[in-house]
């Protein structure tokens, strides 16, 4: 039924995107590089960190990036597509076990284990998503919860493969060109590289026409249907992609931690990651990484000093965040952006006479006609 609509899609998106740049070009041309500045600055700081902190801190930062990447994959589902999964850790677990087995029995050479883990996460999501994505509301919550628990139970039961409750241990760490990465800093840089590539991929997806459709589905599925979209396909693809990205995070984790347990596929991980999304602000992609940083630092870095009260502290942080930061850390930045946009709106009013459709239309139509 969509066959006639399909071939027009690629041709349709390009000029539409092009035309959207036309009226604002004066502004956006100056802004796009400016916008990249904070991201580049963060990247430079992240890359230089190992020179300035000790191995323990570097280890924690690697964990922040690994679990942050997992939070990003969950954000693609929850924040972008509007699918609040309670069992996303299943795909993290599948990726972790897969990478562990690949590293042990085949090769620990980068990037093989992580790539196979991505494939395994995707396949697991293809098999389960077919059913899960058709449900919504409470059924979606229950199904995803069940998938997480079943995966974790399978890891426990299949002890010939997974090592049962002992888990997989002694997994060889990352190797590049046959050389194991022994220094904490090298391991961190590898994790950072995979993080940056994957984060960029998710970001591009969320900005693409496909990502726009996902956000439309999140905000009102019926409206998308009324425009002729079939939401199932979009949600299913998003689910599979999120599974693949979770698999990448799991794959990193296996070779980084060198031990994988059934609990790494269980509800606890899904739950703290949802907490990270709430803390950071779902839908912003970078917010959940910050949220995850808070969670990991409290749990793994300060946790030992807190005498097992880490979860209590996290709970308190969560309650405070819900009251003080209704949209998470990303909401704080959003306030700044909103202020900027208000200013933009005022200036748009000021230039009203020369700005309206009259100026935009000729440029737009010349761009669109070739299609």
């Amino acid at each position: 039924m969509s066959a006639p609509a399909r071939p027009t899609t690629p041709a349709a998106t390009a000029p539409a995107g092009g035309s959207s740049a036309v009226p604002g070009s004066r502004r956006s041309r100056g802004r796009a590089p400016l916008r990249a500045v904070p991201a580049l600055a963060v990247l430079v700081v992240l890359a230089l960190v190992p020179y300035f902190v000790g191995p323990d801190e570097t280890d924690i930062l690697s964990r922040v990036l690994i679990f942050g990447l997992f939070a990003v994959s969950l954000d693609l589902l929850v924040g972008i597509t509007g699918l609040p999964s309670l069992g996303h850790a299943a795909y993290f677990g599948v990726g972790a076990y897969t990478a562990g087995l690949v590293a042990e029995h085949w090769t620990p050479n980068a990037p093989v284990p992580v790539l196979v883990a991505a494939g395994a996460g995707a396949v697991a999501a293809v098999l389960t998503g077919w059913l899960v994505v058709r449900s919504d509301g409470v059924f979606f919550l229950m199904l995803t919860l069940a998938i997480g628990e079943i995966t974790s139970q399978l890891a426990l039961q299949l002890d010939d493969v997974t090592g049962g409750s002992d888990g997989l241990f002694g997994i060889p760490t990352f190797r590049i060109g046959g050389e194991p990465l022994r220094l904490e800093g090298y391991r961190y840089w590898y994790v950072l590289a995979v993080f940056v590539i994957t984060f960029a991929a998710v970001w591009l997806i969320s900005r693409s026409p496909f990502g726009l459709a996902l956000r439309g589905i999140r905000d009102n599925e019926d409206r998308m249907r009324s425009l002729g979209y079939s939401p199932f396909r979009y949600k299913y693809v998003a689910y599979v992609l999120a599974g693949a990205f979770a698999g990448i995070a799991g794959g990193l984790f296996a070779q980084f931690n060198r031990i994988v347990n059934p609990s790494d596929a269980g509800f606890a991980l899904s739950a703290i990651t949802l907490l990270a999304l709430v803390l950071g602000g779902a839908g912003s992609l970078w917010g959940p990484v910050i949220g995850m940083a808070v969670v990991v630092v409290v749990r793994d870095y300060y946790g030992p000093d807190l005498g097992g009260h880490g979860p209590l502290v996290l709970g308190i942080v969560f309650v405070i965040a819900v009251y003080v930061l209704p949209r998470g850390f990303a909401g704080l930045a959003g306030l700044g952006a909103l202020r900027g946009r208000r200013r933009g709106a005022v200036s748009a009013h000021a230039t009203d006479p020369d700005d309206p459709g009259s100026g935009a239309v000729p440029g737009t139509s010349s761009e669109e006609r070739p299609a």
């Binding site: 969509s2 998106t13 959207s20 439309g216 249907r225 009324s226 425009l227 079939s230």
Partner: protein, 233 residues
């Protein structure tokens, strides 16, 4: 082009539409009036496939659309401008138009440039999130979004709802512009002035059925019908 016969539909325990018969000519504008709760919105939502009919038949240019999914109905050439606009608050005007244009590209005369010609205000607000727009602008956005799917039939549910009179006039002009392009329209409206201004014909619903239909001029002349069915003078 649109043929509806014996259409029944409703919600869990109540049947709202009690057998609607309706015929729309290509290129015409039918204003659908009626008191609150007589089933106008249910009819619109059933035609769009958002509510599943329990009996009856809907065809568009001979193609059976009864009980089809909304995306199938949309691809067959029906678009909805829903009550309360229902724009996506976090998405910008451009993003709305892009989303709709991707589905309608090449199927008819409407593209983004043309929609902005019809609704210039949208051109000025391209970078704004729908949540920051005024009610009238959101209504225009909802209209633009519907048009970009290049529909043959546009269903509008109370386009004047909650808008200032001056803005209602703009919406009326937009409807006129759509009509001039040959779009067929079914407009549910409580605002008689708007309905009279845009519609070629007026139909009146009562208790889940269409109980009256006449050309707009005739309807305006004979106030007894309006008085009896709508409770207005």
């Amino acid at each position: 082009m649109l043929e509806v016969s014996g259409l029944q539909s409703g919600y869990k325990r109540s049947t709202v539409l009690q057998g609607v018969d309706l015929h729309l000519e290509s290129g015409g504008v039918l204003g659908l009036l009626g008191r609150n709760g007589v089933g106008k919105s249910t009819l619109i939502n059933t035609l769009m496939g958002l509510v599943t009919p329990s009996a009856g038949r809907v065809t568009l240019d001979g193609r059976d659309l009864t009980g089809k999914r909304p995306d199938v109905i949309a691809r067959a050439g029906v678009a909805l401008v829903p009550q309360g606009r229902r724009t996506w608050a976090p998405l910008t005007v451009t993003e709305h138009l892009d989303l709709a244009a991707r589905r309608g590209k090449g199927k008819g005369p409407w593209d983004i440039a043309r929609v902005i010609d019809l609704l210039p205000r949208l051109g000025e607000r391209r970078k704004h999130e729908a949540g920051q727009l005024s009610g009238g602008e959101q209504q225009m956005l909802a209209i633009g979004r519907a048009l970009l799917t290049n529909p043959r039939l546009v269903l509008m549910d109370e386009p004047s709802d909650g808008l200032a009179p001056a803005v209602v006039d703009l919406i009326g002009e937009a409807i006129g512009g759509m009509k001039a392009e040959g779009v067929t329209l079914l407009v549910v409206e409580q605002d008689l002035h708007l309905a009279f201004a845009v519609a070629d014909e007026i139909a009146v619903m009562d208790k889940g059925r269409i109980v009256h239909r006449s050309p707009t001029m005739e309807f305006r002349r004979d106030s007894s019908v309006a008085h009896a069915l709508l409770g207005v003078a």
